[in-house]
Symmetry: C2
């Protein structure tokens, strides 16, 4: 098929497809002439995956490119793939730089960084989790603890243990669903989708539950 059909089948506009081609998100079609190329089902599939990561989940284009590269390169080894994917993903938001220069630390903060890192180490030790040396996710947990403290909440790593237990179960659920998959490429895609695409849904479920239990506890009508 050519680009117009690819656009129709995927729901992505032609200029956007060209943009993805240029930026290396979508592999080029098989060229049939100087200005003609042939696309196949794999391109449709990849385009839909790209739109899910960028449009539904809100990943940046560059993060998406890294994730896709990991999918392509490590189709065989799920553990390696997950490692690459987790490394390529921005853990918190759209990948903004965490701190621009010039904005100094507020008064009295700044020295607590190592402190919080130790807290996270204590938490992972308590959970019995063995991970790579400095996973970005641990940094996020540390930042959260630090922020909580800077805002005056007395929050230490022990408060997170019950949540970590829930996370442990969620992770086991995730991995259970990686068993039944087709070829390595599909399994790789499935791993990415379960990890990445499920994230907003999990948070949304938490919010629904919060609303329910909030009504139960504080409701007055």
């Amino acid at each position: 098929m050519r680009i117009s059909e690819l656009s129709r089948r995927s729901g992505v506009s032609i200029p956007t497809i060209k943009y993805y081609l240029r930026d290396g998100l979508l592999p080029a079609g098989r060229p049939t002439a100087a200005n003609q190329a042939e696309y196949d089902e794999e391109h449709v599939r990849r385009l839909r995956l790209i739109r899910s990561l960028i449009g539904v989940r809100g990943l940046s284009v560059s993060a998406t490119r890294d994730v896709l590269a990991a999918v392509d390169e490590q189709q065989g080894d799920v553990h390696l793939l997950l490692g690459l994917v987790l490394g390529a993903l921005p853990v918190e938001r759209s990948g903004r730089p965490p701190r621009r220069d010039g904005a100094a630390e507020p008064d009295g903060a700044g020295a607590a960084a190592g402190d919080v890192a130790e807290d996270v180490a204590a938490l992972t030790a308590e959970m019995g989790w063995r991970t790579s040396p400095n996973p970005p996710a641990a940094q996020v947990v540390a930042e959260t603890l630090e922020t909580m403290r800077a805002l005056g909440m007395d929050y230490d790593w022990r408060s997170l243990v019950p949540y970590a237990e829930l996370a442990d179960r969620a992770a086991r659920l995730d991995l259970d669903q990686l068993r039944d998959a087709g070829d390595p490429l599909q399994q790789a895609e499935r791993a990415v989708l379960l990890t990445v695409l499920l994230e907003p849904a999990l948070l949304a479920l938490r919010r629904l539950a919060q609303e329910h239990h909030s009504a139960l506890r504080f409701g007055n009508g």
Copy 2:
């Protein structure tokens, strides 16, 4: 204190503080002269809260403004506050419009929207959750299910039930921590922080657990 001390105490640059003042994120100081105003501890506190929501969590400025307005207006009623906060929050990402016009639905999709909504209704019924009529979070769950299907995964609402149970426990943990708080304003802030700021940390914990269990199951050295 004046603006330079406010900047030093909060770690936010003076132009940014002016920007927040202009956009209504930060209330104006008490004016003492035509071009002089006095800021207090509450401003420092509010600024740190703003930076946490925008910088750490990645909320947009307008979403942050809505959340702060909810905190200010509904300090007394925690359930009402949570409702407003959950309504003001962009559930998935930074609040981008979900679909620009012109990008048509891909082939064969588009009619399944009501279908997925029913699935979410079934899920909340199964969980016994009672929520407001059309919570944005339910929309997110529906979108996720729709995306999964469009990508060829046979994923129905039953697959989400175990996750929903985890979300239920997480929500109860959240609400447990709202008991011991000081004045209504602090309790309102605490509710916001627990709901919003904990989100990246929860996802990060899931990733740490995924890495651990992935190594256990698929590890080869």
